[in-house]
Amino acid sequence: MSIKYFLLFMLTSGILAFSFAGDRLDPAEEVKKQKKLLLEMMGILPGDVIVEEGKEIFHKEGPNGKSCASCHGKDGKGEKLPLVGAYATMPKYYKDIDMVADLDLRVKSCMEKYTGYDPEELKGKKGRKIIVPLATYVASLSNGMKFNVQPRHPKEKEMYKKGEELWYARVGKMDFSCAMCHDKYGGYRIRLQTLAEPKKSKVMRYWPAYRYSKDKMWTMEDRIRGCYKQIRVTKPPFYHWAHVALQMYMAVNSNGGVVEVPGFVR
C-alpha cells in the first residue's frame, strides 16, 4: 500500500503549507470541485475499464474448463441462472454453500466450486485482483434495476440482526460506531470530507465504486475494512461474516435504489 504512505506524506506536509491571506473561499465548497472537474474531464472513467476486465474474466475458462459464462450464459444472460438483477438481491442465502454471501464471497465461492480455481490463488491481495473486477462486472449486470433485499431465510434474518447490531455498536479506542458518523453526523464534515449517508443515499446501489483518491476499484468489503481501520479497529479479514452482516443491513436500507455500478467516490 505504497499509495497510502505517499498520501500520508503529502497530507502532513499539506498541513504546514497553508497560507491564505485575503482569499475567502469556503474550503468545503472548493473541495467539491475536484470531483466535479474529474467527472467533467473524463470521457472514460477508469472504473469502466475494470468492468471490462471483469467481463473478460467472466468469459475465460477456469482450470477445469468451465467459465462463469458456462453456467450463467454469455454476459450473464443465460436462461438458467441468469445474473442480470442478481446483485440487486444480495446478500442472500445460497444453498450450495449453506451460507449467506455478499457479492465478494459469492464470486469467490463460485470460482472455487465451479470453475476449479485453486483457493490459494484467490487468497489475499492476489485473489482480490481477480475477484474485485469480476465482482464489479457481475454487479454492473444489475444496472438500472431496483435493489430488493428481503431477509426471509433464518440465516438471512440472523445476518440482518448481526448487521444492525454492528451498525450501532460503539467499539474500539475511538468509541465510534457506523451509526455515529453515518447516521447522526452524516452530512457533517471530517476535515473537508463530507461524511456519507449510506442509508439515505441507498449506498449499495453504487458500490463497487472507483475511488479517485486511491485510483482503485473498491468493493463494499474494501470500504468496510477501510472504515474499521480509520476507527482503529483491526480490520475484519475479507469474506468475514461481519462484511456480510453489515451489507445485509445496508442492502435492506438500500431497497428501492437503482443500481448504478461502478460508482465514483473520493
Binding site: I15, D175, M180, Y188, R189, I190
Partner: protein, 174 residues
C-alpha cells in the same frame, strides 16, 4: 556501591518501561473479534439515539468520572506548542478532524464546535482537561472519543492540548 545501585534502578526502570510499552498481547496479532468487544459504557451507548437510559445515567456518569487520571506532576496545563502538534497530528489527537480553531487550518471538520477563541471563554482548564480525558463524563455517548480512557493521549499530552486551547499565545486565541 552507589553506582551499582543507580545502575540497578536504571535497569529496572528500563525494563519496566519496556514492559509498559509492550502490551501483553505483543507479537500476537489482534483480531477483529477482540477489537469489537465492548466495555459496559460502550454497550450502553450502542443504540440508535446514542443515549443512556435514564435509570443508568447516574451510574454511567460516576463510572466515567472515576476513569479520569491526572499527570503525575499534577500539572494539567502543559506546553501549548507541543499541544498544537498533538492537536493537529492525524496520527495523534487529530482534533482538527472534527473541530476548527486556528484559522490557518483549512482542513478542519464541523462535527464538534469551532474552538476559535476558546481560551477567551474563561472556562476552567481543569474542566477542559477532564473533558478531553473522558468526554463521556460530561456528555454521555458523545461522538468525541475518550482520549485518556483509551490511552490515545497520555495525561501529559492532554495537559499540552489544554494549554493550546487556553493560552493567549496560542493561534486558537490570537
Amino acid at each position: 556501591m552507589k553506582r551499582i545501585l543507580v545502575g540497578l534502578v536504571l535497569t529496572v526502570t528500563l525494563f519496566y518501561l519496556l514492559y509498559l510499552s509492550e502490551p501483553a498481547s505483543a507479537g500476537k496479532k489482534r483480531t477483529f473479534e477482540e477489537d469489537i468487544k465492548q466495555d459496559w459504557a460502550q454497550k450502553v451507548c450502542s443504540n440508535p439515539e446514542a443515549k443512556v437510559p435514564e435509570e443508568l445515567l447516574d451510574r454511567f456518569l460516576e463510572e466515567q468520572r472515576k476513569l479520569i487520571k491526572y499527570p503525575e506532576s499534577g500539572n494539567i496545563y502543559g506546553d501549548w506548542k507541543r499541544g498544537e502538534k498533538l492537536f493537529s497530528n492525524p496520527k495523534k489527537g487529530n482534533c482538527y478532524a472534527c473541530h476548527c480553531g486556528d484559522p490557518k487550518e483549512l482542513a478542519c471538520g464541523n462535527i464538534g464546535p469551532n474552538l476559535r477563541g476558546y481560551g477567551k471563554k474563561k472556562k476552567d482548564p481543569e474542566y477542559t482537561y477532564r473533558k478531553i480525558y473522558n468526554s463521556w463524563a460530561y456528555v454521555p455517548c458523545s461522538v468525541m472519543y475518550r482520549a485518556g480512557v483509551h490511552g490515545r493521549l497520555t495525561p501529559e499530552e492532554i495537559a499540552d492540548i489544554v494549554a493550546y486551547l487556553h493560552s493567549e499565545e496560542s493561534p486558537i486565541n490570537k
